[in-house]
């Protein structure tokens, strides 16, 4: 089964992998390829560094889906029968929207927005990025506006955090001891709770009273939202395991990304999530490096180079070709390792592309490789 074959049967594709391996370009290429096959695709990135905008040759992306025109995408050379809508996720705004939707009234909403701890959580700290990303995914999926959604995840090692985000949020909210904090009365009432008293004394000693009061206020403020959060987190978690959802692991053949990819794959499998494909970018193929020939040909090539370019420059070119051979062999090792660990998962190689190509030409070339 090819990557394209898997993607044809899925609604949601989540691209994961180490940083700096062309994950964003791969996600954009997958979106483009699906649109070529007639689907209406939402392409979401969480990466604030404008990498997706760059890959799509745009100055910036909005936090609402924006339709990419066929004229704009023309240099990619992909004939679109469907549509690509791109957006960058604004975690703070997504979190705020969620609170707006779940809050029973305006007063509750404003109390949550005003809380210092909420302001920090909804910013960039901890797992909130991850949670809001999948919350948005869920929302877009449910809106029925799109028949495919491609998500470019944050470039980091913490894929596990990303997968655990809904579960963690739920565990946190369901923790019985935290109900203490959810009681509407003031701190004093909670200290009166005999079971909790020693723990509270400890916490006061550990954290200091001001912070504790702040945390209590936070829980009091979000308390009314808990039911909604719990429902949402459960639905999001179910969506990740849905038969229509698949994960695409993006790597390069280099040592560190290969090692990280293998670790990601283990995490995904342990979590019972489907790995729909592996994309290996920037491969120097043995054929390109021309190493498929007998080594005895190398001296002949060098002689021809020296004859045409002189001793110094000819030697320099021969040495450069030799490095390409080394690189190609090294890449083969990385690919073999990935293959060995990901038996049965379609693996697609994308060659190292000519750096003089424009963004959209590059994107088109990657798309053709992924959907070949």
């Amino acid at each position: 089964m090819s990557l394209a074959g898997v993607l044809d049967e899925r609604r949601i594709c989540i691209c994961v992998g180490a940083g700096g391996v062309g994950k964003t370009t791969s996600a954009a290429a997958i979106a483009l390829g699906l649109a070529e096959r007639g689907r209406r695709v939402a392409l979401i990135t969480i990466d604030p560094s404008r990498r997706l905008a760059g890959a799509l040759a745009l100055d910036a992306l909005a936090s609402e889906p924006q339709l990419l025109s066929a004229e704009h995408l023309a240099p990619a050379g992909i004939a679109l029968r469907g549509e690509v809508w791109a957006m960058v996720l604004d975690p703070k705004r997504t979190f705020d929207d969620l609170v707006r939707r779940l809050a029973v009234d305006e007063a509750t909403r404003d109390r949550v927005f005003a809380n210092r701890i909420y302001r920090e959580i909804s910013g960039a700290v901890g797992g909130s990025h991850e949670f809001t990303a999948i919350a948005k995914l869920f929302e877009l999926d449910r809106s029925g506006q799109f028949d495919a959604i491609v998500l470019d995840t944050p470039p980091s090692r913490n894929t596990l955090d990303f997968l655990r985000a809904p579960e963690q949020l739920m565990q946190f909210i369901d923790a019985p001891s935290l109900r203490l904090f959810l009681a509407p009365a003031g701190l004093g009432a909670r200290f009166a709770n005999r079971a909790a008293a020693p723990a509270m004394a400890l916490m006061r000693r550990l954290i200091g009273i001001d912070l504790l009061a702040e945390i209590a206020l936070f829980f009091a403020a979000v308390g009314s939202l808990v039911g909604g959060f719990r429902e949402r987190a459960a639905a999001v978690e179910a969506l990740l395991r849905d038969r229509g959802t698949t994960f695409v692991l993006v790597s390069s053949p280099e040592r560190e990304p290969v090692r990280e990819s293998i670790a990601f794959a283990a995490q995904l499998r342990q979590a019972g999530l489907e790995i729909g494909g592996v994309v290996v970018n920037r491969v120097v193929s043995v054929r390109d490096a021309d190493a498929s020939d007998a080594p005895s040909d190398a001296p002949a090539t060098e002689l021809a180079l020296v004859a045409a370019l002189g001793e110094r420059l000819g030697g320099l070119v021969a040495a450069s070709a030799q490095r390409a051979v080394l690189q190609a062999h090294q890449d083969q090792l990385g690919i073999a390792q990935l293959r060995g660990q990901l038996d049965g998962v379609p693996l697609t190689l994308v060659p190292r592309l000519d750096r003089s190509l424009g963004e959209l030409e590059t994107l088109g070339a990657v798309t053709r490789r992924l959907f070949a």
């Binding site: 180490a18 940083g19 700096g20 560094s49 404008r50 990498r51 210092r116 701890i117 920090e120 959580i121 960039a124 700290v125 901890g126 470039p155 980091s156 090692r157 913490n158 963690q168 946190f172 923790a175 001891s177 935290l178 020693p198 723990a199 004394a201 400890l202 916490m203 000693r205 550990l206 954290i207 200091g208 009273i209 001001d210 912070l211 945390i215 040592r255 560190e256 990304p257 090692r259 670790a263 390109d288 021309d290 040909d297 002949a300 090539t301 021809a304 180079l305 370019l309 420059l313 320099l316 070119v317 070709a321 490095r323 390409a324 080394l326 690189q327 090294q330 090792l333 000519d354 750096r355």
Partner: protein
């Protein structure tokens, strides 16, 4: 191979953070720096925050909890937040209260997970503890140097700003005092250094420039050294590039293989020029910050032997 001379430059400080985005070789650099310092006779520990035991793997030892000796005078540790919390509680609470801990650890664990920045504070607190001339944990031996394999960019920022934000938010409590102490240590440039790693690629350079700006603005911490990893250095001079393009365009036709080699050399030259542009962009964004460039390696495996070789290359540059 101790040469007895003090560890070079930044390695003479007590706490060195290696920051940068994922996949640029942060762990490898942290391990290499540790190796260099240990060679100079410094008792060194390399600490991995939010890692998966990659350091142990690099040194070819099994990943174990706690401080593990991986080479002569060199240790490695994976920072474990729960353990750090436990150590903190044991240091700060009277025995009478510790007895109550049994029932309260879960609650404390939940709160630690829920309080924004508390995990980061505990982690950076452990790094600080490792760097103290007098260790806080029972049986802890002091280190001359702690090299931190910091988490990827955004998470590093959270780690480095946590002490300051707790010092402000938790006014007066023990956590505020602890936060203030750690923050002062981080800002003491005789004791703490920041080394930023990147690759000569647009995304990596942009992320580093962004991280540097945020480190300065939000944490008040400047970068002391930039390490550019994986530089290809296959740039041709203009006359050579012209000669190669000419040979492709004129008869007699080169044999196919020689022609492919010439094309490959020109492509590598272009790659190298694009890399150079990125390095220049980096230099312009971080004026006055010293920079070390490490060449791309073409060897497949990476273990202790390669680390030693990299240490030798880097040491000459420090």
């Amino acid at each position: 191979m101790i040469d007895g001379s003090p560890a070079p430059g930044l390695l003479g400080r007590r706490l060195v953070f290696v920051v940068g985005k994922g996949g640029v070789g942060r762990s490898t650099l942290a391990a290499t720096l540790g190796l260099i310092a240990a060679r100079h006779g410094a008792r060194t520990i390399v600490a991995e925050v939010s890692g998966r035991g990659e350091l142990a793997q690099l040194f070819g030892v099994a990943a174990e909890p706690g401080e593990v000796e991986v080479a002569p005078r060199l240790w490695a540790i994976q920072i474990d937040t729960e353990r750090a919390l436990d150590e903190y509680l044991h240091e700060h609470l009277p025995l009478r209260m510790l007895a109550d801990l049994v029932g309260a650890t879960r609650l404390i664990g939940y709160l630690a997970a829920a309080t924004p920045g508390l995990r980061e504070l505990l982690n950076v607190g452990k790094l600080w503890e490792l760097a103290q001339p007098e260790r806080r944990v029972p049986d802890g031996s002091p280190y001359d140097l702690v090299v931190v394999d910091a988490p990827a960019s955004g998470h590093s920022l959270a780690l480095l700003t946590a002490p300051r934000s707790f010092a402000r938010t938790a006014q007066g409590g023990p956590i505020a005092r602890q936060g203030g102490r750690i923050d002062a240590f981080l800002h003491d440039r005789r004791r703490t250094a920041m080394i930023a790693v990147t690759r000569p690629e647009e995304a990596a350079v942009s992320e580093l420039l962004d991280l540097n700006g945020r480190l300065l603005r939000e944490a008040g911490l400047p970068v002391d050294l930039i390490v550019v990893n994986g530089v290809s250095d296959e740039r041709l001079d203009d006359a050579d590039a012209r000669a190669l393009r000419a040979v492709l365009g004129r008869p007699p036709e080169l044999p196919a293989r020689a022609r492919a080699a010439v094309e490959r050399t020109l492509a590598a030259d272009l790659e190298s020029r694009i890399e150079r542009e990125q390095i220049e962009r980096l230099a312009a964004g971080l004026p006055g910050v010293p920079r070390v460039e490490l060449l791309r390696s073409y060897s497949g495996e990476f273990g202790l032997v390669e680390l030693e070789a990299l240490a030798t290359q880097l040491e000459a540059e420090l």
